[in-house]
């Protein structure tokens, strides 16, 4: 019962503090939808008609990421601004709540709940709920945009956009339904895992440094296509279903499970003997 109350407190209080950031996430998603719509219209301006972009096309554009970077004298590394902005903003949104809660009312709440593990579990569940809410907001914004712009609400990927607008350099002409699930779920799963990892790091280092570590992981992922950097799984255009040397779904699932389990267990274990000092 006490755990339920603790979770209720975290969800209520955490969401209350993070409400504005959810609105900002919606604004980001809206801006990316408009960007895709304009780019689509611009790219096919000389065609008889502008092709329609489906619900999943918009999501693919938002979460897509960048194609593999191959260092050369002519091509410099281009930062995946949209992709980074979205992931980093969600990470930033969950960065301070657990930490600040310990120097606020949360300290007295913790003492009353009598369990450090319950506190950590509750914060982890809040973290998961908040990231889920961020993605729900993105999906709803895209859904609303498609409704307003009379774009089809469907999960059919338009193959020509993949190379024309997402610049994926894909050798494929058609894409499997598995790619739809990758677009829908993998950015979310990696976000969940990285947000939990960041929360665990905050026990060891200052929140801003923890955020910095996540930024480095994401940037390194964008720079290097390798299965050991988790950000690659959050870029559907680096999937094996888009490019031949892409990352595999099974590896991605393993990576997500490993990161979530390691973050939760390490956090739980360390928080049991963590000194609560409020040395802000």
């Amino acid at each position: 019962m006490t755990f339920y109350k603790l979770l209720k407190y975290d969800v209520k209080n955490g969401f209350r503090l993070g409400l504005i950031n959810l609105l900002i996430v919606a604004l980001f998603a809206l801006a990316f939808c408009i960007d895709f719509y304009l780019r689509k219209n611009g790219a096919y301006i000389f065609d008889a008609s502008t092709p329609e972009g489906t619900f999943i096309d918009y999501l693919f554009y938002i979460f897509g990421g960048i194609k593999e970077y191959i260092p050369s004298r002519t091509d410099g590394f281009i930062f995946p601004v949209k992709w980074l902005l979205l992931h980093l903003f969600i990470l930033y949104s969950t960065l301070y709540y657990p930490y600040r809660d310990l120097s606020s009312l949360g300290l007295n709440i913790l003492v009353r709940t009598k369990g450090r593990m319950a506190w950590w579990l509750s914060k982890s569940l809040w973290n998961i709920c908040y990231v889920l809410a961020c993605y729900l907001v993105i999906f709803l914004t895209v859904f609303g945009f498609c409704l307003i712009m009379q774009e089809p609400i469907s999960l059919n990927i338009t193959p020509m956009f993949v190379n024309d607008l997402l610049e994926a350099d894909s050798p494929f002409d058609i894409f499997s339904t598995q790619l739809v699930y990758i677009i829908l779920f993998f950015p979310l799963f990696i976000s969940l895992a990285l947000n939990l990892l960041q929360m665990t790091f905050v026990l060891f280092i200052k929140p801003l440094y923890s955020f910095g570590v996540m930024a480095v992981i994401l940037l390194a992922s964008a720079y290097l296509l390798t299965p050991i950097l988790p950000g690659n799984y959050a870029m559907p255009i680096r999937s094996e279903h888009v490019v031949e040397n892409g990352v595999q779904v099974t590896d991605g699932v393993m990576m997500v499970l490993l990161l979530i389990a390691a973050s939760f267990i390490a956090g739980c274990d360390y928080f049991r003997r963590y000194d609560i000092l409020n040395d802000d």
């Binding site: 109350k5 009312l105 009353r112 000092l277």
Partner: protein, 219 residues
């Protein structure tokens, strides 16, 4: 009623010894005072008793249960640490209500009664916390620590930011808590207040206990 035993307690933080071989027994129905300059270890000692930090060496027992092993925190404790912190967007009353909802031991009447005891009337307790003055924040912090009538009451610098009325109320509250049978632990810079309130005073220096005095009961 609760007894706190500390046996050879050390605490090291970042290589620095902040609590150095402290042994003491704190009993119910008594007010124990900690005195010492800033950085002498008073707050650390209170955090150790509250279970917020764990000893590097030594044992703290609350009623025979080892803190950090058999229990995570004392069963019944109310704490006011240096700077009380609540949620800005809630009123003082709502903050306390949220705290009380965890144990579900007291209702609105008890919360209101405690708020009045610390000098926060109905109107001021309904204001948002962010509009509170430092003194009001301190009063709310004290209310939060005593409202559920815990067995252990820890008050770190309870008279900070308080006016004369506030200080008098703190004295009354500490006295009432003692009479109720609580184990009251208080750290205070004001030597007069500590002399008036505490049954026993421990002097701390560089994390070590250097002296203790017991108040002589007045005839």
């Amino acid at each position: 009623m609760t007894t706190i035993y500390m046996d050879g307690v050390y605490k090291k933080l970042k290589g620095l010894t902040v609590i150095n071989n402290i042994s003491m027994t704190l009993t119910s129905g008594q007010v124990t005072g900690f005195r010492g300059v800033n950085g002498s270890g008073k707050t650390m000692l209170m955090r150790l008793i509250a279970g917020l930090i764990l000893p590097t060496k030594g044992t703290i027992k609350i009623d025979e249960k080892v803190l950090g092993k058999e229990i995570t925190f004392p069963e019944s404790i109310g704490i006011l640490l240096e700077n009380p912190a609540f949620l800005d967007s809630y009123s003082g009353f709502d903050n306390l209500k949220m705290l009380a909802s965890i144990r579900n031991k007291i209702g609105d009447d008890q919360i209101n009664h405690t708020l009045e005891a610390v000098g926060l009337d109905h109107e001021s307790s309904r204001k948002k916390y962010k509009k509170y003055s430092l003194g009001m924040k301190q009063r709310l912090g004290i209310a939060g620590s005593i409202m559920e009538q815990p067995d252990i009451v820890i008050l770190d610098e309870p008279t900070n930011s308080l006016d004369t009325d506030g200080v008098e109320r703190v004295k009354q509250i500490v006295q009432q808590e003692k009479e109720r049978g609580a184990n009251v632990i208080i750290a205070c810079h004001d030597t007069d207040i500590l002399d008036q309130l505490a049954d026993k005073i421990y002097y701390l220096e560089n994390g070590a206990m250097v002296q203790s005095t017991r108040r002589v009961p007045q005839a």
